[in-house]
């Protein structure tokens, strides 16, 4: 129990609940069932992107091109649906996913096989992919009346009383948890982020793993591109502009170490939820939206400080050790 309380994930969950309760005391409407359901729906895109970003950060990388990939895939799916209204929705969604995958694999190839630094590669593709959104759309909007009704309706439609967005996000959480915990692929990412040289010693195919990690981040961004455009019923060139930093912020708040090698699915989910709560709660208690950005920043810095303190290391063990005395290490 004590160990559970010490976990960063538990602490963050408690903070989130405390925040909801505090805001609820000021404005009871905030804790109503429908308001909380809206909050959940609002957090889904951020959570899905944070999950993908988490896997990238675990390998000691970062994907700055996520929001641009999202925008490009979202714009393409909107154009596709408006030109060919007869196209089944599933095909449109798969197209968005495939475009994202392709863009992500380009990142992954440059980072994994050509061993270029992730921050530089994705900084470059961030601009390239965003630029392509302009080229493709000619700078024009695709507005709701140009899109087929089922295209727009899908994300907020309900299955067993819960929106599709929430179902998809739940599937993504389960999938990410399974991948990170129960597959060779996922475990290798942790090994790579922990000690890249050692990972090579034990024979992990680093280039291949990195390529598909960025591919996955791209695929998730692509799918989120469709969901984003459909949910807000508009596609324009500046969709999700700057959102990659919100995603990274969610990861950092969730305790995912930027230095790589550690981070959990629960952390990414809670980090995303926490930011969504701040985003939805501040207007309710009538805090200016300008404060929102500053508050998010303060939360990030606090999270980083907590991480740094717990990660502080002492010296190497050189003096002879006696195992019987120190065997209690758990």
């Amino acid at each position: 129990m004590k160990a559970l309380l010490k976990l960063r994930e538990t602490q963050l969950a408690l903070c989130t609940v405390a925040l909801i309760v505090l805001v609820g005391m000021r404005a009871p409407v905030f804790v109503s069932g429908s308001s909380l359901a809206n909050l959940l729906t609002d957090s889904t895109l951020l959570i899905m992107l944070a999950l993908a970003q988490m896997l990238v950060i675990v390998t000691r990388g970062v994907d700055l091109s996520m929001a641009s990939t999202l925008a490009l895939a979202g714009m393409m799916s909107a154009l596709l649906a408006s030109r060919f209204p007869a196209l089944p929705l599933l095909v449109v969604m798969l197209a968005a996913l495939a475009i994202g995958l392709l863009l992500g694999l380009i990142n992954g190839y440059l980072i994994g096989h050509l061993e270029l630094p992730p921050i530089v590669v994705t900084l470059g593709t961030m601009s390239v992919y965003r630029g392509l959104v302009f080229v493709l759309s000619g700078g024009a909007w695709v507005s709701s009346h140009q899109m087929p009704p089922e295209f727009i309706a899908f994300p907020l439609a309900r299955l067993f009383g819960v929106t599709h967005l929430v179902w998809i996000a739940a599937a993504a959480v389960l999938g990410a948890w399974y991948l990170a915990r129960h597959t060779r692929f996922g475990r290798d990412l942790y090994a790579i982020g922990n000690a890249p040289a050692s990972a090579r010693y034990v024979g992990i195919p680093i280039a291949k793993r990195l390529m598909w990690t960025y591919g996955l981040a791209g695929a998730v961004s692509g799918l989120c591109g469709y969901l984003w455009v459909a949910r807000y019923a508009v596609a324009y060139t500046e969709i999700a502009y700057g959102f990659e930093f919100t995603v990274i912020a969610a990861c950092v708040i969730g305790g995912i170490s930027i230095a790589g090698g550690s981070g959990s699915v629960a952390g990414a989910v809670l980090g995303g939820l926490f930011l969504a709560v701040i985003g939805n709660a501040l207007p309710v208690v009538k805090v200016s939206p300008f404060w929102q950005s500053a508050l998010t920043g303060i939360v990030i810095l606090t999270a980083v400080m907590i991480n740094a303190r717990s990660g502080k290391q002492s010296g190497r063990q050189i003096l002879p050790l006696h195992l019987n005395k120190s065997s209690g290490a758990v």
Partner: protein, 501 residues
């Protein structure tokens, strides 16, 4: 031993060069199933390179590796592992954030219908530790383990691979006596199972306790091979140390003066204990020990890099407190770190800026217009060190290892230190540059400097130092005067042997 004529592993004529430096030259080695082979040599004799060649991390330039009579080549570490050769490395291959059990199976997690079989991983890990008769919680994260416990994880990993050849690269370097005996027992088990073991150690009592045969390397060459039953410890030491080494090092004849630096009761919670020594004016004090004996840690603490160390430091008779490198530099202590690439030089800056970096405040705050003064300082030290470079604005990354080291030395000399601490100043640099660095160290003392020379190269320490401090497991084992130092007694002290028979 099932068949003496059929070694399970045989290496012939292995050579390996790195950028012109010969690391291995025509090395031969063979080991049979159920046999423990001790690989013996000084630091830098080529043992670690040989291990890396065997485990597929390096590919030999020449020569052949035969496994059970068939020639093999290893393109990468995984190939060697699949062929049944595993190593417990000197630099541990560990993933700090992963659990003990996962560290054993990382890179080859067993899975059941596409899903990692965690229950099996943990059960197998428990079984391995039971077999080793070691208690380790398999779910603990490796970052919470001690160095000794990490070794057991690595040995368990080697065992789990059903290896035909297990290489133990200085596995006992940081183990206590009791742990060492556990290791002996484990090696006995491996031998009984018909595994071939290559055992690398500097400690002769261990070699005689566990090994059947020996192979001696020196300067990357094969020197001798035979049964341990047919040789004595002193004979083995002289095979390993070999040459007479005094002449090659030009030690300037300076009679050390007054005591300049006095360190006493220097302690650190995990790294060293009760370290005390004195350094005289114009003296070269050698610090010898095995890798990981705590020498660099003592020096770093002395330089103000370690906050958890405590003790008394007197400089020129006055007690001083050093809490940061800037403080140490102010007191006239300079530390030239071992890891040139990461701690010593700013590789992407030009030579000029490297040399003047610690003394910029003396050049002036506004550097514009003071170019000439900055250049003069840099040129002075570049010339003194016989730096080979096209011009002073050349980037340090373009220089050879030896010349990089000269830049680092020049940088620290520019601070006009009283005491200069050199940590492995000739590690990984070619013979020619080595001689220049040695000559230079020899000359430093004629200018009234006092030098602490940390080195793992016995000839270097013996050739240059007035007195030699030998460290072992974080403690000072013995201090030898130049006259009484012999390779035999220094190696013995560094290995923790009290007296050599």
């Amino acid at each position: 031993m099932d068949n003496n004529n059929n070694p399970v592993l045989r290496l012939t004529g292995i050579s390996k060069r790195f950028a012109g430096i010969v690391a291995l030259n025509n090395v031969a080695l063979s080991v049979r199933a159920g046999e423990v082979m001790a690989l013996i040599g000084e630091n830098g004799a080529g043992k670690s390179t040989l291990v890396k060649t065997l485990t597929g991390i390096y590919q030999p330039d020449q020569g052949s590796i035969e496994l059970a009579g068939k020639p093999v080549t290893f393109a990468n570490a995984q190939d060697a592992m699949r062929a049944g050769i595993t190593a417990v490395h000197q630099e541990t291959v560990m993933f700090d954030e992963l659990t003990v059990a996962e560290n054993i199976y990382v890179g080859r997690h067993p899975s059941k219908s596409g899903r990692i079989d965690w229950a099996r991983i943990e059960a197998e890990a428990e079984k391995l530790f039971a077999r080793l008769e070691v208690t380790l919680p398999v779910r603990a994260r490796v970052k919470d383990l001690s160095v000794a416990q990490r070794h057991f994880v690595e040995i368990a990993r080697a065992l789990s691979q059903d290896a035909r050849v297990v290489i133990l690269d200085e596995p006992t370097a940081s183990l206590s006596q009791r742990e060492i005996h556990e290791l002996y027992r484990i090696i006995g088990q491996l031998r009984a199972d018909g595994t071939a073991v290559i055992f690398i150690s500097h400690k002769f009592d261990e070699i005689f306790a566990v090994a059947d045969r020996y192979t001696v390397l020196r300067d990357g060459r094969f020197i001798a091979e035979g049964l341990l039953a047919d040789i004595t410890e002193p004979e083995l030491v002289s095979l390993m140390v070999g040459r007479t080494i005094q002449q090659a090092y030009p030690k300037a004849d300076v009679t050390p003066g007054e005591v300049l630096l006095e360190v006493s009761g220097f302690n650190h919670p995990t790294e060293f204990s009760d370290v005390g020594f004195t350094l005289r004016q114009g003296e070269i004090l050698g610090f010898y020990g095995l890798v990981g004996a705590g020498r660099s840690e003592v020096m770093q603490a002395l330089f103000g890099l370690s906050s958890s160390a405590n003790g008394t430091v007197k400089l020129g008779g006055k007690e001083i407190i050093i809490s940061s490198p800037a403080g140490a530099i102010r007191h006239g202590i300079a530390y030239v770190p071992e890891d040139r690439q990461h701690q010593g030089a700013h590789l992407s800056l030009p030579i000029l800026h490297n040399i003047t970096l610690p003394v910029l405040s003396r050049v002036g705050f506004f550097l514009r217009g003071r170019r000439a003064r900055e250049q003069a300082i840099a040129r002075h030290y570049a010339e003194q060190l016989e730096l080979k470079a096209t011009h002073l604005m050349q980037h340090v990354s373009e220089l050879s290892g030896g010349n990089q080291q000269k830049v680092v030395l020049g940088k620290w000399l520019a601070t006009n230190p009283k005491v200069i601490i050199l940590d492995e100043p000739t590690k990984g640099i070619d013979i020619g540059s080595k001689a220049a660095v040695h000559r230079f160290i020899g000359e430093l003392v004629t200018k009234g400097l006092s030098v602490i020379l940390v080195s793992s190269e016995l000839p270097e320490v013996m050739g240059l130092a007035d007195r030699i401090v030998v460290m072992h497991q974080g403690r000072i084992e013995h201090v030898y005067d130049r006259a009484e130092a012999t390779p035999e007694n220094i190696v013995a002290a560094a290995s923790g042997l009290k007296e050599l028979a």
